[in-house]
Symmetry: C2
Subunit: 435 residues, 2 copies
């Protein structure tokens, strides 16, 4: 049987999972690849660190050069995070003739065009299924399985940490801070979870998916994004009363005007698949003009789900499929003009959820409704709970308004004007509603 | 730009959809295939039939020989149903050097080994994404995207007609016969829906998926199957009271004892993704040992979802990916021993739902519970509705029992004994419960 020699660079959690699949399940990978997938080298910084995996003698090394100098190694799973030295290492590996499999979404979101262009110049390929939604094979599904379609929209729960936090807040009525501490204790959140909870991670993944689905070359940092770090449990509660859950949704919508991208806490109707995605799961809904809606749900991160994606890519690369896909699709070609443009978000239309603290006296609702009406925003429902006969009178009281469809521009302008009303005593919370 | 000449054999609903995608969206297919996908011929029996699609001059023909004799045509979408002449035509096309894309699941379930072996001998490939769950790319997902995994189980709602009927019965409390008439009127059911509603269609699809996921070569007709044609609205109602919906589930479970396959109406907990699959949608849940659970949901049939799968296969074949996959995976090789064996269903363990008509007098439940206890089957819940003080006394009355986990062998033996009790006045309905 033919043999493909593989190296791993970076033996962290995912790297150890990849090594385990290659070492413990060689029969399986051989069956699916039609050849032996042989782990020849694993490059680490510190050989003495324990990694919960026993490697055959001679595999572990601290020398990247050993991999570079070994012409028998044809494909490398590069599993180190961050931008540098990850970028330089990837370039060096490709220059020495290796095809690359990576899970580093930040690197692709930041340096995709440079790396992919260089790969094409060198006749090499980069596979990156593990970079987005680990256990959900969304890269292959969009670039191959749905290739007969013009994708029209895509909505994803792409950050497992955020979804875990929101689910816990929703189910236990706990505060953001409490839940983050619990998530950190359980390993669902990093010591510094900023990139997860502020929407950065989801925006980077959305930029990659938007490129595959719409051909748009997008700078992830230009995607309007709101995280869940400011989410108030009250909003989860009011949303539920209205028949919705709040999810951190990464969305892309194509219309005649262009492509609209955003990451934001969004109301999703209870009972729909996206609303029922719990804890650290990820999910993606894709609508194609021929296939209609397709929904994917699976584990978005974790050692073995991510390793599953990396090993599938190693197999695809060894078999030769990756090279064909890579040559055909011209991923992140610098020369290729974007086929879709970022639309000014102002023209996006959807329903909105508003919560605002208002003075508890007559005329308040009238003054707010007048502003909304002026901007052509019509009200679908209002929640303002009576304190009840025995309870102390609250002032200010929260007023919740669900609107019918309105443009983002109108909603944003109305928000500004409402915040200037005397009856409104603090900032307005405004969230989008997904149907 | 390179050009791949394509022919369609059979211009029915799906064929017309494929022609439309190739003709109207040439730019899109070219972008995703890296070459022009050119529809050169469409073979039909009757040129005068209207098909809702206008073909360029010279494309429509009644002569299969024209395609066979044209060396420029390298890939053929063979979209005629049934076993013959579909089988002979496929063999002829492959012998004249064409790669095949097909949606004919019955043909593959019946003649897979012969056709695939012949394709390999001839150096040709057969792509068949459209044969199972049209809009859900489950073939590519199992054979490529999840290739790092040992699939452990697979459950699918694979027949859209059955799911439409069950959903309507469930939501409107209507009888099977009423709903079938409605489904026929709406085009969701054939004039003779037997193959859909008796589980044949789902069993054929399950046989194909079981081959891909478990390497088992399965004769679909040996898969134990129960359709929805005998389903009583009462059972849907009782299931709901217990917190379940009934779905026609095609299941495959791998254990140390082997592979267990079945198609049967099954209780699925309300709120889980499978239970919420409505109308003509299909869904598949796959559990892999590395990736964990992955859930897919989409349209299982219909012109454009199926055409989407066919055109994706045409692109994969033109690009060369299909050939690599086909060579690597040895689909349906006659020489290849099955890696998984059909297990005697007796050893399968799950919870069971029983409904039985019983005489309304003391001691009835005791006698039934005694039989269950004898077979080590413990009762989880019982429903026996009081007729109410004013209502006429019913006799026999329906008794519904939900058990804890028990073996299929024990459940089947207990059923036989319960049916022999004097207090039991008719046949026992027994359904599996999926967790």
């Amino acid at each position: 049987m033919e043999k493909t020699n593989v190296a791993i660079v970076g033996l962290g959690t995912v790297g150890a999972g990849v090594a385990r699949l290659l070492l413990d399940h060689g029969d399986r990978t051989a069956r699916h690849a039609g050849r032996t997938m042989w782990l020849k080298k694993a490059v680490v910084r510190d050989k003495s660190k324990t990694r919960g995996i026993e490697l055959p003698a001679g595999v572990l090394t601290t020398s990247l050069q050993e991999v570079i100098d070994d012409p028998e190694i044809s494909v490398v799973a590069q599993l180190i995070g961050g931008l540098e030295p990850a970028r330089s290492i990837m370039l060096k590996l490709m220059e020495s003739g290796k095809d690359i499999v990576t899970a580093n979404k930040a690197l692709l979101a930041e340096h995709g065009p440079e790396l992919f262009t260089r790969a094409r110049q060198l006749g090499r390929s980069i596979a990156f299924e593990a970079a987005v939604a680990g256990g959900i094979p969304i890269i292959a599904n969009i670039s191959q399985c749905l290739s007969a379609n013009q994708i029209q929209s895509l909505e994803g729960i792409l950050n497992g940490t955020s979804n875990f936090i929101v689910t816990q807040m929703d189910e236990h009525g706990a505060s953001y801070d409490e839940v983050v501490r619990e998530a950190q204790r359980l390993g669902y959140a990093e010591a510094d979870p900023t990139m997860d909870v502020d929407g950065t991670d989801a925006a980077q993944k959305l930029a990659i998916l938007a490129h595959l689905a719409f051909g748009a070359t997008v700078d992830w940092s230009e995607i309007p994004r709101v995280g869940i770090d400011g989410l108030d449990p009250d909003d989860l509660q009011y949303a539920k009363e209205l028949g919705y859950r709040i999810k951190l949704l990464a969305s892309a919508n194509l219309s005649d005007d262009g492509l609209e991208l955003s990451v934001a806490p969004t109301l999703v109707p209870i009972g729909t698949p996206l609303a029922e995605v719990r804890d650290a799961f990820n999910a993606i809904r894709v609508a194609g003009d021929a296939v209609g809606p397709v929904f994917y749900h699976g584990l978005g991160a974790g050692q073995m789900p991510t390793a599953s994606a990396v090993v599938a890519d190693l197999i695809d690369t060894a078999v030769g499929r990756t090279r064909l896909t890579f040559q055909t699709l011209e991923y992140f070609s610098i020369d290729q003009p974007p086929r879709a443009l970022l639309r000014e978000a102002d023209s996006l239309r959807c329903r909105y959820y508003f919560r605002l603290p208002v003075a508890n006296h007559p005329g308040t609702l009238a003054s707010i409704a007048t502003v909304l009406a002026k901007h052509n925003i019509s009200i679908a429902s209002v929640i303002q709970h009576d304190s009840g006969p025995g309870a102390p009178q609250r002032d200010p009281v929260p007023l919740v308004i669900m609107t019918h469809e309105a443009s983002e521009g109108a909603a944003s302008e109305a928000t500004r004007e409402i915040e200037m009303l005397d009856a409104v005593t603090g900032p307005v919370i405004r969230l989008r509603v997904e149907e």
